[in-house]
Symmetry: C2
Subunit: 426 residues, 2 copies
């Protein structure tokens, strides 16, 4: 797409075009932005053939490389999935536009009128891995919030991403908006990525969306401000005195509903007072659901030989499984559960199942994470579920946005001060 | 203070103590935090002698090194200034506590109760230059927002900072809060600073507060999330048809009220249609106020030989003067003024003086800065003036906080989700 033939991709030109496009986008009315999104959704529905043909190339390459079946499945597009992707654009179109709202507006004693107006971030770079739907989701969210976006997807989805970005850009241009609002870096050269991560002139924010390797690379390389997303070692603690039937439903859902998402359960912590009753029951249920249990000594002795488990490895407690595997640990009491989460949690989603009001309150107050749950499954951490409509990612850092990043989180504000000649006294 | 004698300062221990202290601070009631602040203000008032004695050492060292008089002045404490510093702590005590407020609280259709609760950031590192009052201001603001703070001040103020931090820490401890809530790195070794900027385990946010050299160093070194503050190349554009008497008052105030602050005027842009009337008048006024004008060719030809000016240098338009010097440029029209600010502005404070509603509206919409002014002096960009009470710094980036960072900007939020067994459907 951008110089895809000669591989001498000019990142400065991409950044500069994105900056120019962002200035135009920032001034577009909501009506116009919605027209652009409608054009994109329509184009995705009419150009199915082109997109699927490109996707076949990626899928075949992935099969030839013997990639993991789960990776190939995530990579694969079909008519139904493409229709879902277009429907997600419709949904973003239907969301309220966050840009232009004014907070804290007031008149100061000296007559100055002041307020904080919500404005786009400007140019957002998003670095993501193999799912081609992300290309469309992120583009739609960035456009609606008035941002230009520079996308850098995974090598495995390159042909699909090129096709999708071409369709999106043509639709944007046909709708009368700057096509450089969405640009794809289609050269997998890592030095280009590094250059992007340090382009403070043209890029306002970079969002890595993927595993811990990607996040660490981006955070340690970037000089552009970063919002880290999507890496989570998530715990559920089953307290003494908890409703154990409820606990079992919550644990099963948190682990198995969708094991590959970042808010899936990674480590189950069980209070020793309920371990003997709870573990055999939940253990059996999890194993029947296909989950491999990585158990510490106390857990495996309670589970016994009938419920198979693996010996807990050295790094298991710091592992985000993203699969039907999990760590299981017995803790002595509530304090030990808190300490365990402090030590091993990644600040994503943490849950307690308890009937103690005091423990619920302390858990909520003392656990430092983007989302803290009492008596519910961590699978709910999601922009749609939290009422944000959709999300660019789940932030696990504390600056700017925490948890699901929806449209509002893709904006910033500026102070506007209007007067009739006010000067500041000494 | 922290291992000040042996220079083998253990940064990991400082970080770990700060993290522990932050956990305690985060749970303190507002009443308790206010008691701690009252104790600090009282200690600053009773231990004047100790602090002033330490300050004399810094001032004498600065004189021996022939430092700039302005630097020495900023460094110097006396009874009156110390009293002002203690009064600033009283003021922070009086501000409302941002922690605990819940936004977007609601009950979801499935019965989950959800909301975003405001919580402290955790551990904040602040890197600042020579003003010892910053040590106290930042400590008070961080404490009130429930954050532990690690301070790293300028070498010139080292003895003053050690004395102030000792007074603050003793007061915190006497009031029953963790003294590691405030820690000072008193070893000027730069490698320690670099270690701090990469300590993602213990530090949640780093705020550099100072000139562009410091900001660039911190941004390019840190892997901890950064909020850049305090560097500003600020413009005021005098439009055709502006009230020129008003423009002159605004320009004079923006440049000379306090030339050493980051929102002081750096570059005056004058529409060519008013240059011949406006420039001789404002030029004379500025020169009489002691300002050195760095003028482009069109400006100096209008000013003539009677109003002295210096030839505009190559880097002048990208210079933050922080002194009674400024750049002056004639622009052809409104578009050129916008383009100039786009190219040279640092996203801090930008002003237009105009009588055109359309130009005022476009300036406010299109200029990308933390604070955008119409017909007022940029000297107003300040936490107190904007109604935030006090500030840690003026953010010039777009993530998290923009413009003055008050107490709320020193917090983040967490999502709290409470249920009675909800699991997420497939």
């Amino acid at each position: 797409m951008v110089n895809s033939s000669d591989r001498s991709l000019d990142l400065g030109a991409i950044g500069s075009a994105a900056r120019d496009a962002s200035r135009g986008l920032g001034q577009l009315s909501t009506t116009k932005k919605n027209e652009v999104l409608a054009a994109i959704a329509a184009a995705l529905r009419t150009q199915t053939e082109t997109i699927l043909k490109a996707n076949v190339l990626d899928v075949e390459a992935a099969k030839a490389q013997d990639l993991d079946l789960a990776v190939i499945d995530r990579l694969t597009l079909n008519r139904e999935r493409l229709d879902g992707i277009a429907a997600a654009v419709d949904m973003v179109e239907a969301l309220p536009d966050p840009v232009g709202a004014v907070d804290d507006a007031r008149r100061l004693p000296n007559g100055l009128e002041i307020g904080r107006r919500r404005v786009p971030l400007g140019v957002v770079a998003v670095i993501f891995e193999a799912r081609p739907n992300v290309t469309v989701d992120i583009s739609a969210l960035c456009l609606k919030a008035g941002n230009a976006v520079i996308l850098r997807g995974g090598r495995e989805a390159l042909q699909s991403n090129i096709a999708l970005a071409n369709v999106i850009r043509a639709a944007i241009e046909a709708a009368g908006a700057p096509s450089a609002s969405v640009q794809l870096i289609d050269d997998p050269d890592r030095s280009l990525l590094e250059e992007l991560l340090r382009d403070r002139t043209h890029v306002d924010v970079v969002v890595p969306r993927g595993g811990s390797g990607l996040i660490d690379f981006v955070s340690s390389t970037a000089t552009v401000p970063v919002i880290e997303t999507g890496w989570g070692v998530c715990h559920t603690f089953v307290d003494a005195g908890a409703d154990l039937a409820m606990a079992e439903r919550i644990v099963l859902n948190a682990k198995t509903r969708r094991p590959s998402i970042c808010n899936a359960l990674d480590t189950l912590l069980v209070h020793r007072d309920v371990a003997e009753v709870f573990l055999p029951s939940v253990g059996r249920t999890l194993v029947e659901a296909g989950v491999e249990l990585h158990a510490d000594g106390r857990v495996s002795s309670v589970l016994g030989p009938e419920i198979p488990s693996v010996v807990l490895g050295d790094d298991d407690l710091d592992t985000e499984w993203l699969a039907l595997r999990m760590s299981v640990v017995v803790v002595d009491d509530f304090e030990h559960a808190l300490a365990h989460i402090q030590e091993h949690g990644s600040g994503h989603s943490e849950a307690i199942v308890t009937s103690s009001h005091r423990h619920a309150r302390r858990f909520v107050n003392e656990v430092d994470a983007a989302a803290v749950y009492v008596n519910a499954s961590t699978q709910f951490t999601d922009g749609g579920e939290f009422g944000l409509g959709a999300e660019v990612g789940i932030s696990t850092q504390k600056l700017h946005a925490r948890g699901p990043m929806g449209l509002r989180e893709m904006t910033t504000y500026k102070w506007i001060v209007q007067g009739d000649g006010q000067v500041r006294p000494v």
